[in-house]
Point group: C2
Chain length 373, copies 2
């Protein structure tokens, strides 16, 4: 149905298989820092106009790949499409964050929530198929969703928040209602990701962007448990090809040990995490089990001049250390990424320096390792 | 010069000495959630009008102590007084955060910075002496400062920030300038805290509120190293009494191991940290060295009903476990606090529930331990 994959470095690294370079992609790589994105966005009229139009979504997903030799594509969409399909009414005012028409703060509102009909999200699945076709096998396509907890934050707060006051008030006052809300979200997210896989996504990622705002204990009960509920329902294989999954918890480095046993292939890490320590803790050994690690350059490094970007990118690769190079076994691998989404203020040529340094330096690392070994 | 201290539980806990209950105070305990604070603030006309007036600063510092049986007082002031004294022009627009007239983003601006004349901060030291007198020995008085890195964030950004883009751009582009700025800040902070001690502060706390936004590696070089520079210059004793110091790094739990050897008595922890694990990692054993641990209830717990607050407060005390009870030796101790400042939206009677639960449950813990031992 689709052309054969020409660059499988990202998928191989997800499965902890050796690759000739460290694959790299960037969270929010299709976005406002690209002039071509801003042009398409202007044509679309609004953010939702862009996200719900299959042609535009395809166009912007491919834009960063035409500019940079990235090793994966990620569906252009928003993490809040699922609560929107639940009937909460998502909108984006110009220059502001997402906003829901309805908020979920009491028993009646929680009881009214159900796993939405996937027909309401057809625009997402159509975009997945369209992008997969347009990629022509250049690189794999990643599908994604917000985590149950992260979606709950937006659904209860009604938008972004500084203090998560409303969602935590509900959680601490009525834990029963919060569990009900999270169970609905988890089942919806699992169905949403599975439908993306059926539509052509070759890997899926769960963004637990706000897991890190929770207290120890609350994180395990209200975020991690529902990420597990999502993972347990995911399709593991489609059309004879295994589908890897990635879990990214911003601010979750402190709970890395507890994420070791998640039923996913890779863990996304933010820049506060020491990759060398993370590799020891959860990266596994050659031949043994473990998680691929994705991350974790501070996006603000991209505001420095290219020479400094090169220094910092090499430091991240060196902190992880050389990925294993044995083609016959699994072992520790890194997928290079930022520790959070790329900033809209990033100079486009600075991304060139990043991608080139990842490719060049990671090849040099492997060459040294092969000579040493 | 001052009346003898009637409640020394906070100071004893700082020194890892046994106490009959776990002392408790709350970050930002003198603040907007108190109607009496809002009344004084209205009289003062502006936040800086409040902070720079010795009588008002004394009045609001004592307000929470009159309402709740807290075990320590903390100077009412702002963390940005030092850069204001450096000539950057601090102001607070109504309902908004702090703002500096001048920002520090280039070599000329960094070169223009110097350790300020402490005469410009006389209002702070006068407030310390006035509060110390007004306390009449009820509880000890904590002085404080922002950390060198946290002050730098505000000085470069010109106010609060979502992404720390400017300060990190400077840090990654011109690390030499950032080091120069941080060295100046560290020496200014040390002098500022020492002058507070001479004026009557019985303990001092360094707020590294934004240390947690740094990448691993950058945190050690640009935040922790300069906190160390502050600590190395602090007066250890005043008028025959030892002065303990506390370092609080919001989001710093991931680097706890690296804070173990700081030359301070206590570490402040936010709610993401598991207190049981932290006690094992840095709390030390009975008779051995270690750090007192301060924290770490999520301030959002205070929005739940009193019964739920009680459950969560007990959970925090139980997670730390019973502090040691041997009056002849040092050992693991906790100072109960929130993991960040109390919210302005907190219902006042909910704080009553918190303080009472800390005192009651921590006495019960010690009683059980004494019976078991």
């Amino acid at each position: 149905m689709y052309p054969a994959l020409q660059n499988d470095s990202f998928l191989k690294a997800c499965w902890r298989q050796a690759t000739d370079h460290t694959p790299v992609w960037l969270m929010r790589q299709a976005g406002r820092y690209l002039p071509e994105y801003r042009a398409t966005r202007a044509k679309a009229g609004s953010f939702m106009g862009l996200a719900t139009n299959v042609d535009y979504a395809t166009e912007v997903t491919l834009q960063p790949l035409d500019r940079y030799p990235l090793d994966a594509a990620i569906l252009f969409s928003d993490i809040l499409t699922v609560p929107d399909a639940m009937g909460l009414g998502l909108s984006f005012a110009l220059g502001e964050g997402p906003k829901f028409e309805k908020v979920v703060r009491d028993e009646a509102a929680v009881n009214a929530l159900h796993v939405p009909d996937m027909g309401k999200l057809k625009y997402v699945f159509d975009a997945v198929t369209s992008i997969r076709k347009a990629l022509k096998g250049r690189v794999p396509l990643i599908g994604f969703s917000g985590s149950p907890w992260t979606l709950a934050c937006y659904m209860v707060e009604g938008g972004g928040s500084d203090d998560y006051r409303h969602v935590k008030t509900l959680m601490y006052s009525r834990p029963d209602l919060m569990h009900q809300l999270l169970a609905t979200n988890a089942d919806a997210v699992a169905l949403y990701l599975n439908t993306q896989i059926l539509a052509g996504a070759q890997a899926v990622m769960v963004f637990d962007s706000w897991g890190g705002v929770l207290a120890d204990g609350a994180f395990q009960h209200f975020s991690l448990a529902y990420t597990k509920r999502v993972l347990s329902q995911l399709i593991k294989e489609h059309e004879g090809v295994k589908i890897p999954s990635i879990v990214f918890t911003k601010g979750g480095g402190i709970w890395l040990d507890e994420m070791k046993d998640l039923d996913c292939q890779a863990l996304g890490l933010d820049w506060t995490v020491n990759l060398g320590k993370a590799r020891k803790a959860v990266g596994g050994s050659v031949g043994g089990p473990g998680k691929a690690l994705q991350g974790n350059l501070d996006p603000n490094v991209l505001f420095a001049p290219p020479e400094q970007i090169e220094v910092q990118v090499k430091a991240v690769l060196d902190q992880f250390g050389t990925p294993h190079i044995d083609p016959h076994q699994t072992g520790p691998t890194q997928i290079f990424n930022l520790g959070h989404g790329i900033s809209q203020f990033t100079p486009v040529e600075h991304v060139t320096a990043l991608v080139q340094t990842v490719h060049d330096h990671s090849r040099a690392q492997r060459k040294s390792a092969a000579q040493a070994g």
